[in-house]
């Protein structure tokens, strides 16, 4: 049993933290989100060149630093602490995950571009009707000669406005909700027939509705086995869930510490509100939620290396804990901040908004509870 980080991982954490401390203040972030394009390509460039973190989770043969999911966890927690919107999760965790596990033809080349900061990926999986059932797909990919033609509408694709590539789930066969017939494609965003309707999200990202209208791709665009890619999707999704849990730990830490700090300074009825026992115990319960969330994130990371069942159970169990913690800690951070917590000017509200969106990201608390139940207790007991 080992719960420690390697020296490399600790250095990675320090590197990211210190860069963000210098370059990602609340005001800098705020200004970037308000302007176009809504993110800072120079930050991404720094991630690639100055910090060299985009390769942390790739193998040395692929040009990376030889790390893995734990490195993703370390980075994501720091990104969470600073509410970073730049697309590490969709590009490295999800895009990188598909390329590593699916091993499509051009994988190594594209990984090289990711590490260099030149390729940015968005994951187009959700559909308007599908909620959190990843196999519920109306988007189709019809065989056409050696390649495929894609048609469909993908909902709320986070990071699509600044992506160079889209990874897309589509049906090459089977009925709308069947587990069979699911395939995955990588499509350049500028491919003919791809259109987007872009908008910001409530937590400061940019996203798109993405429409595919007779988008032709070659056979090499397919990642994983034709029609049998749902297990691959689940695996990458679980890695995304674990990484999001790590991000959430960063967010929760700031919510908790910010609240404790505020409560110490804020006076009411002549004394700091941190002296009121009800608020003290509330902050203790927030702290316990944070600690439990960290524990569960470690657990999920460890389980990513296990069997499919262990991995899936671990990710869903962690997401349940994180979802509950995001709600409890977020709501109470605002409550204890009082009116100040309600203003756009204070950072705390922005952490709360991100925490709230994490509750539903890659499946709500109820979704992951249901998934965990089936994995742990069976469909019928």
């Amino acid at each position: 049993m080992d719960f420690s980080f390697t020296e490399e991982q600790s250095m990675l954490r320090d590197t990211v933290a210190s860069y963000l401390a210098d370059n990602y203040s609340f005001d800098q972030r705020r200004a970037a989100l308000k302007a176009e394009p809504g993110w800072r390509p120079q930050v991404w460039k720094a991630f690639a060149d100055e910090l060299g973190i985009l390769g942390a989770a790739f193998s040395e043969e692929q040009g990376g630093l030889g790390g893995g999911t734990t490195d993703n966890m370390v980075i994501m927690e720091e990104l969470g602490k600073a509410l970073v919107v730049e697309p590490y999760l969709p590009t490295v965790v999800i895009g990188g995950g598909f390329l590593k596990h699916g091993k499509p033809a051009g994988a190594d080349e594209l990984i090289g571009k990711i590490i260099a900061g030149e390729a940015i990926i968005a994951f187009a999986y959700a559909e308007p009707q599908g909620r959190y059932t990843w196999s519920d797909l109306k988007t189709t990919a019809k065989k056409d000669g050696a390649g495929y033609v894609l048609n469909g509408h993908k909902a709320v694709v986070i990071g699509a406005p600044y992506a160079t590539h889209l990874i897309v789930t589509a049906r090459t066969g089977g009925g709308q909700r069947e587990t069979q017939g699911v395939s995955v494609f990588i499509v350049p965003k500028d491919a003919k027939g791809v259109t987007t309707r872009d908008y910001p999200t409530v937590d400061g990202f940019r996203a798109s509705e993405v429409y595919f209208e007779n988008v032709a791709v070659g056979a090499e665009a397919m990642i994983g086995p034709e029609g049998q890619a749902l297990p691959l999707v689940e695996k990458v999704m679980d890695e995304a869930v674990a990484a999001t849990c790590a991000e959430a730990c960063g967010v929760l830490r700031q919510l908790h510490e910010g609240t404790v700090e505020y409560a110490r300074q804020r006076k009411q009825f002549g004394q700091p509100i941190s002296s009121f026992q009800v608020l003290q115990h509330r902050m203790v319960d927030m702290f316990i939620q944070l600690e439990q969330s960290i524990s569960m994130t470690y657990m999920a990371d460890i389980m990513l290396a296990g069997s499919d069942l262990e991995r899936a159970k671990g990710a869903s169990a962690a997401k349940v804990q994180i979802g509950k913690a995001c709600k409890f800690v977020g709501q109470n951070a605002i409550q204890i901040h009082g009116g100040m917590g309600m203003t756009d000017e204070m950072a705390i509200g922005h952490y709360f908004k991100r925490a709230t969106m994490i509750e539903a990201a890659f499946g709500s608390t109820d979704h992951h509870l249901a998934r965990y139940e089936i994995l742990s207790l069976g469909k019928v007991a």
């Binding site: 709320v156 009082g338 203003t343």
Partner: protein, 400 residues
Amino acid sequence: MNLDFSPEDNAFREEARAFLAQSYPKELREKQARGETLGKEDYLSWHRILAKKGWAAPSWPKEWGGTDWTPTQKYIWSEEQARADTLGILPFGVAMLAPVIYTFGTEEQKAKFLPDIRDGKIWWCQGYSEPGAGSDLASLKTRAERVTGDDGKEYYIVNGQKTWTTLGQHADWGFFLVRTDPDSKPQAGISFLLIDMKTPGITVRPIITLEGGHEVNDVFLDNVKVPVENRVFHENQGWTCAKALLAHERSGIAGVARSKRGLERVREMASTELADAGGALLADPFFKRKVAELEIDLTALEFTELRTLAGESSGKGPGTESSILKIKGTEIQQRLQELALEAAGHYGAPFLGEGGHNSGVGPLHSIDTAGDYFNGRKTSIYGGSNEIQRNIIAKMVLGL
């Protein structure tokens, strides 16, 4: 013990329902349906229609336009308004300020202000909270010094800052708590002033709230000159007015009728949104259960409010029943907002801003669910936070 309505009550309900059906402005209903942000005139137009009917200020004394309705009639009226999904009359003038004026004001003040408040001719805002004060209202620092003007009349010169002034951007007049005696104890030395918002020295600055909306404001007062006759009640005894106003602020705080309508909306939404399993979200056992539990809790709140109206409850001081109603009422509103956001799924995330309802991004019912949820966090904070309400019950009812 029964819930029977008398024939008179039933007739009243018919009248209210018919009036709402006939008189509620069509343009307003359409704007609401499209989810458009409503402006000053939208609120006032409906207020004026109610005033014409004589129903703008049911709780006032009859001589100033009150209706003398029984509690049952008031209950019916709030139910019918929620049923018809109408805008409410803004509380600042009719529900909050007017009781202070007709209880503590001079005859001149009554004559000058009450008819305009009733008829929706002027827009009032509230100048209570100050930066850093929060629920500790009596710690206010805004100063009013009494001077004799060049015209030989008496004035207050007001300096300070108010905050959380809801819809102050539209206000014609405001009622302010100011400190007229800085040397006495916090709750003494406060006076209650009516101030014309066009007076030189007043600046209203928007506060953007976390969901991106502009509902509240900072109000800066820089040597604002207020005639002494605009003070209500005695100098240094404004706290008496403030307390009375706060008690009225909390009446209707349970919001039962509105939450019933909100619950219907969530049910409608969950009937078209799909669950993971493919059927309607409302058929998902866990979503359904949350709706059922909310419905039961709302019934409990409703009957607690009815008991309060009927005088059969165990509150032992003014405002103690309202503390329960405030706590449970806001909890229920917040849970409704949580459920709507949950039902929206992926489409809770887009931030579409003005015109979002015409954006075509996601189903109409999902638009702004996150914004409503974020904005709704305020309800357990303002009007005396829910923690303060628990302190009040502990002290006033349980004697702790």
